[in-house]
C-alpha cells in the first residue's frame, strides 16, 4: 500500500475517528465493530464498503490498523464524492471533502436524514456546498459542555463574524438552540461530533463558499419535527464558532465518555430550548437592530426606502439572490420600504443566513411584523407545515388582492394601509357601453342632420349636443334632455378621460378603484326610447323648471356640469359656444338661406314693394327684428330671446328711420339666419320668426329693389351709384362674414368627423374580442 498523504485536517479527522473506533484503547487497531458501524454510517452501498475494505488492505490483514483505517476513510470520502474507487485516487484527488458519517441510530435522526435528503434539493442552500445528498446530513452529537461552548461561541462570533457592520450582539438564541441540538442520542454517537471539531478551524479559512467543507450539519431533529424543514442548513460554519469549537471539542474528547447524566441534562435543556422559536429575536438583538435602523432612518415610525435598504444589506456580502429572497420575506406589505419591524426581520434573517442558517420559505411567525417576541411554541410547529399564503395573518397580502393591478402610485398606499381590507365593490365600468352609446347617439344625430335638414328642432339640438361632445363643453344643450341624459352619463365617463387618465384606466380593471371616495352610483341608464334625438323630448325639456338648472346630476363625484335645463324663459342661449352654435346652426339654416338668395336677386319684388309704401310699415316692423336679432347676436350671455326681442323692439321703435335704413341694408342679410339659429322652444316661436324671415326676404328684396329704382332719377345718379356701391360693399362684408361663419361650421363638422373616426378606431379592437 502506497503512502497516504493526508492534509492536516484529514489527519486530525482521521485521528479522531480512529480514536473513536479504538474502543480498546490500543492505539493501533480500530475495532471492527466500530469501523463497520462507521462505514455503515457513511451510507455507502455495501459493495462499495467491501471494495473499500479490500482496497485498504483490511481484509488482507483482518483488522484495521491505523494506516488501513486512514486509507479506508479516504476511500469513503472518495466514494462519497462520487469518484470511482481507485488506489491512485487516494493521493491524486485534491480537495477531497472529508468523509461524512451519518449515525442513524435514533428514529428521529433517520427521519430527519430522510427529510434532509429531500431537502437536499432545496435550492436554497446558498452555501454553495455540493455534498452528495445521502452523506450530507451529519448528526453531530455531542459535547457535553454546551454552555461553555455557547458562551465562547458567542463571544468569538462577535469578534470575527464578518457580518454587517459592527455586530455587537449576534443572535445568540439560534446558536443556543444549535448547541442544544447536538444532543447525543447515544453514547457512541458522541464521538463523531468531536471529530468535526478539529477540522472546523481550517474551514474557517476557506469559509465563504467553501464547498470543501465536510459540513458539520447539525440536525435539528431533536426538537419537534416542525423545525426540520427550515433547519436543514448547509453550514458554512462561522469562523468563530469553529475556532471556539475546536478547543471545546478537544476537551470534549476527554469528557465525552461521561455522558449519561449530561446527556439527559442536555436533552432536557435541548427540549426546553427547542421550543423556543429559533427565529426569535432577543431583546439585545432587537436593540441592536433598532440602533441600526436609526442610523438609516431616525424616525422609528418611518420607512427605510428600498434603495437605502439595498445598500445596507449589500454590505453583508450575501448573494443578491439571497438578499432578494430575504427582502421578499421581510417586506410584509410589499411596499418597497421597510418599517422598523420589517427591518428587524430582514436584519435577523441576514444574520441568520450569515451564520449558516437556510432561509425559510416563509417568514417565521416570530419575525412577522407586530408579532416579534411572541412566544409561540404552538405556532412554531406550524412553520414547516404551512403552505403558501394560508397561514399569513389577516394583514398579509390578501388585503392587496382585491385591489387591481394598478400601476399607479396609489396602490402602495393602499397596501400600506393594511387595515383597509375592505373590498371596494366594483365600480360599474361604463366606458364601453357609454362610448358605444355616444357613438350611437352621434351617429343618430348626424343621421338626423342629414335626414331633417329643415327641421330646426331636431337639427339644432343634435348639433349642439354633438358639438358639446366634441368641444368637451361642460354645459349641455337644454334642448335635448336625451342628450343631457346621455351627456351626463357620458360626461361622467368622459370627464375622467379629460381629468385623469388614471381614473379611466383603473375603471377598466377589475373594477375596484383606489379612490377613497365612495363609489359613485352608476350613471343613469340611458333610456332606449330616447336614443333618438327626437322631438319627443322637447316636451320634457319644457317642463323642466329653471330651478333645476344647477341641480343637474349632483350625485356624481366627478362634477357633472350643471345641467342647465331648458326653460321657456331662458333660451338656448347660450352657453359659451354661442357663436359655434350659431355657426352650426348655419348648416340648418343654409338650406333656408338658399331660398333667400334667389330673393336677393329678385328685385322685382322689391320694386313692387317700393312702389307700395307698405315697405315702411313692414320695414319698421321688420327692422325691429333685425335690430333685435342683431343685438342678440353679439350678446353672449344667456339672455332670453324674447327679452331681447322686446328690448329691441322698444329700442328700435324709438329709432329713426334713417339709421334703420342703413341698418336695414346691413342687417337683413345677416339676421335672416338668426331666427333659425335660435333654439326654438316652441313652434309658436318659430312660426313668427319664419314669418319674419319671409318678411326679411322681402326687405332684402326691397333693399335691392331700391337700387335699380335709383338710376331713374337722373339727378341722383351719382349719389345713387355711390349709395349702391356702398350697399354693395356692405353686402360684400355681410357675405364675407357669412362665408367665414360657414367655414367655421365646416371646420366644426370636420372635427366631428375626426372624433368619430377616432372613436371608431378605439372601438375597433373590441371587435376582435
Amino acid at each position: 500500500m502506497e503512502g497516504l498523504t493526508l492534509s492536516e485536517a484529514e489527519q486530525r479527522y482521521y485521528c479522531d475517528l480512529f480514536s473513536y473506533c479504538d474502543t480498546e484503547s490500543t492505539k493501533k487497531v480500530a475495532s471492527n465493530g466500530r469501523v463497520l458501524e462507521l462505514f455503515r454510517a457513511a451510507q455507502l452501498p455495501a459493495d462499495v464498503v467491501m471494495q473499500i475494505m479490500e482496497l485498504c488492505g483490511a481484509t488482507r490483514l483482518g483488522y484495521f490498523g491505523r494506516s488501513q483505517f486512514y486509507i479506508a476513510l479516504k476511500l469513503v470520502a472518495v466514494a462519497q464524492s462520487g469518484l470511482p474507487l481507485r488506489v491512485e485516487s487516494l493521493n491524486t484527488v485534491k480537495d477531497l471533502p472529508l468523509p461524512r458519517f451519518v449515525v442513524s441510530k435514533n428514529e428521529q435522526e433517520s427521519r430527519h436524514t430522510a427529510s434532509y435528503a429531500s431537502d437536499a434539493d432545496n435550492p436554497a442552500s446558498y452555501s454553495g456546498v455540493i455534498p452528495p445528498p445521502p452523506g450530507r446530513v451529519q448528526a453531530k452529537k455531542g459535547s457535553v459542555s454546551h454552555d461553555a461552548v455557547q458562551q465562547r461561541t458567542s463571544t468569538d462570533q462577535e469578534s470575527t463574524s464578518p457580518v454587517v457592520s459592527p455586530q455587537q450582539s449576534p443572535p445568540t438564541s439560534p446558536h443556543t438552540w444549535r448547541k442544544h441540538n447536538r444532543h447525543p442520542s447515544g453514547g457512541n454517537n458522541e464521538r463523531p461530533l468531536a471529530g468535526p471539531g478539529p477540522f472546523w478551524a481550517p474551514f474557517s479559512e476557506a469559509q465563504p463558499g467553501s464547498s470543501a467543507a465536510g459540513d458539520p450539519i447539525w440536525s435539528g431533529h431533536s426538537p419537534p419535527p416542525h423545525q426540520e424543514n427550515w433547519v436543514s442548513f448547509a453550514d458554512t460554519p462561522p469562523t468563530s464558532t469553529l475556532l471556539a469549537m475546536h478547543p471545546a471539542s478537544v476537551q470534549d474528547q476527554t469528557t465525552v465518555r461521561t455522558v449519561a447524566s449530561a446527556t439527559t441534562a442536555n436533552e432536557i435543556r435541548r427540549q426546553s430550548s427547542s421550543y423556543d422559536d429559533p427565529w426569535k429575536i432577543t431583546d439585545e438583538q432587537r436593540q441592536y437592530y433598532v440602533n441600526q435602523f436609526k442610523t438609516i432612518q431616525p424616525d422609528l415610525n418611518g420607512f427605510i426606502p428600498g434603495s437605502a435598504a439595498k445598500e445596507f444589506f449589500t454590505k453583508s456580502k450575501l448573494p443578491i439572490l439571497e438578499l432578494s429572497h430575504i427582502w421578499e420575506l421581510s417586506d410584509f406589505d410589499k411596499d418597497g420600504a421597510l418599517t422598523l419591524d420589517e427591518f428587524c426581520a430582514a436584519f435577523h434573517l441576514v444574520v441568520a443566513r450569515k451564520n449558516g442558517y437556510d432561509l425559510p420559505e416563509k417568514l417565521p411567525e416570530s419575525l412577522m411584523p407586530k408579532l416579534i417576541d411572541l412566544e409561540d411554541s404552538a405556532e412554531v410547529g406550524d412553520q414547516a407545515g404551512e403552505v403558501g399564503y394560508s397561514s399569513s395573518p389577516a394583514e398579509a397580502p390578501p388585503s392587496k388582492s382585491p385591489s387591481m393591478p394598478s400601476l399607479n402610485q396609489t396602490w402602495p398606499e393602499l397596501n400600506q394601509s393594511s387595515e383597509d381590507t375592505a373590498i371596494v365593490h366594483p365600480v360599474p365600468i361604463r366606458m364601453t357601453p357609454s362610448k358605444i352609446h355616444m357613438q350611437e347617439m352621434e351617429l343618430k344625430r348626424t343621421g338626423s342632420d342629414h335626414t331633417n335638414p329643415t327641421s330646426p328642432l331636431l337639427v339644432k339640438p343634435a348639433d349642439l349636443s354633438e358639438e358639446n361632445k366634441i368641444s368637451s363643453s361642460v354645459k349641455f344643450v337644454p334642448g335635448n334632455t336625451v342628450a343631457d341624459g346621455y351627456s351626463s352619463s357620458d360626461s361622467y365617463t368622459s370627464d375622467p378621460e379629460q381629468i385623469g387618465s388614471t381614473v379611466t384606466r383603473q375603471r377598466s380593471h377589475s373594477g375596484t378603484s383606489p379612490d377613497n371616495t365612495a363609489p359613485p352610483p352608476p350613471p343613469p341608464r340611458p333610456h332606449p326610447s330616447h336614443s333618438r334625438s327626437s322631438s319627443l323630448d322637447m316636451n320634457r325639456s319644457f317642463t323642466v323648471t329653471p330651478g333645476q338648472q344647477q341641480a343637474g346630476v349632483v350625485a356624481y363625484p366627478p362634477a357633472v356640469p350643471p345641467r342647465p335645463q331648458p326653460s321657456q324663459g331662458t333660451g338656448p342661449h347660450v352657453h359659451r359656444p354661442v357663436d359655434a352654435e350659431g355657426l352650426i346652426a348655419h348648416t340648418s339654416t343654409s338650406p333656408q338661406q338658399i331660398p333667400e338668395q334667389p330673393n336677393f336677386a329678385d328685385f322685382s319684388q322689391f320694386e313692387a314693394f317700393a312702389a307700395s309704401g307698405v315697405n315702411e310699415e313692414e320695414e319698421d316692423e321688420i327692422e325691429t327684428h333685425p335690430d333685435v336679432l342683431q343685438a342678440e347676436k353679439p350678446s353672449d350671455s344667456a339672455s332670453s330671446l324674447r327679452a331681447a326681442k322686446t328690448e329691441g323692439r322698444v329700442e328700435d321703435k324709438a329709432a329713426t328711420s334713417v339709421p334703420n335704413n342703413t341698418g336695414k341694408g346691413t342687417t337683413p342679410l345677416a339676421p335672416p339666419p338668426k331666427p333659425i339659429r335660435r333654439r326654438l322652444k316652441s313652434e309658436d316661436e318659430l312660426r313668427p320668426e319664419v314669418e319674419e324671415h319671409t318678411q326679411k326676404t322681402g326687405v332684402i328684396a326691397a333693399v335691392l329693389a331700391s337700387q335699380p329704382s335709383i338710376p331713374r332719377s337722373v339727378g341722383k345718379d351719382k349719389k345713387a351709384i355711390q349709395a349702391s356701391i356702398r350697399r354693395n360693399k356692405e353686402t360684400n362684408t355681410v357675405l364675407a362674414r357669412l362665408n367665414s361663419e360657414l367655414q367655421q361650421q365646416l371646420k366644426d363638422v370636420l372635427e366631428e368627423r375626426i372624433s368619430l373616426e377616432v372613436q371608431l378606431e378605439q372601438l375597433r379592437p373590441f371587435s376582435h374580442l
Partner: protein, 145 residues
C-alpha cells in the same frame, strides 16, 4: 396543460422580447410552448399597436384571446410598462372562462409588481423569486386540474 410566460420587451438596444419567466405545467412539450408563446408575441404587438392610436390610457391591459388553435388557446395581457404576459391553455380545458383568465392575469400582475418592489431585483433580470414561483404554481394547480 397550461403554460405561463412572462416576456418583457427591451425598449432599447435589442428591441426584442425575451422571456423573463416561463413556466409550464406539465413540463412536456416545452419547446412547442416556447414556440407558441413567441408566435403569439406578434399578435400581442399587433394588438398593442392597434390601440396605440388612441390615448394610451384607454388601452385595456387584458388583451383577451389572442388566437385559438386546434389544440390550445392563447391569452395575452400587457402591462403599462410593456411587459407581456402570455398564457397558453389547453383547448380541452373548457372550464376556464374569460373571467378566470382575467383574474389569473391580475394575480400575475400583482405578483410581478411585488417583484418590482424588491430593490434587489433589476428590471430585466430573469425572475427567480420564490414567492412568484409559489404563486404561479398554486394558480396553475388551482385552475388546471
Amino acid at each position: 396543460m397550461e403554460r405561463i410566460a412572462l416576456l418583457s420587451p427591451v425598449c432599447s438596444p435589442r428591441l426584442q422580447n425575451y422571456p423573463l419567466y416561463i413556466r409550464s405545467v406539465p413540463t412536456e412539450n416545452e419547446l412547442k410552448f416556447h414556440y407558441t408563446v413567441h408566435t403569439s408575441l406578434d399578435v400581442v404587438d399587433e394588438k398593442i399597436s392597434a390601440m396605440g392610436k388612441a390615448l394610451v390610457d384607454q388601452r385595456e391591459l387584458y388583451l383577451g384571446l389572442l388566437y385559438p388553435t386546434e389544440d390550445y388557446k392563447v391569452y395575452g395581457y400587457v402591462t403599462n410598462s410593456k411587459v407581456k404576459f402570455v398564457m397558453v391553455v389547453d383547448s380541452s380545458n373548457t372550464a376556464l372562462r374569460d373571467n378566470e383568465i382575467r383574474s389569473m392575469f391580475r394575480k400575475l400582475h400583482n405578483s410581478y409588481t411585488d417583484i418590482m418592489c424588491n430593490p434587489f431585483y433589476n428590471p430585466g433580470d430573469c425572475i427567480h423569486s420564490r414567492a412568484f414561483d409559489n404563486m404561479v404554481t398554486s394558480m396553475m394547480m388551482q385552475y388546471v386540474k
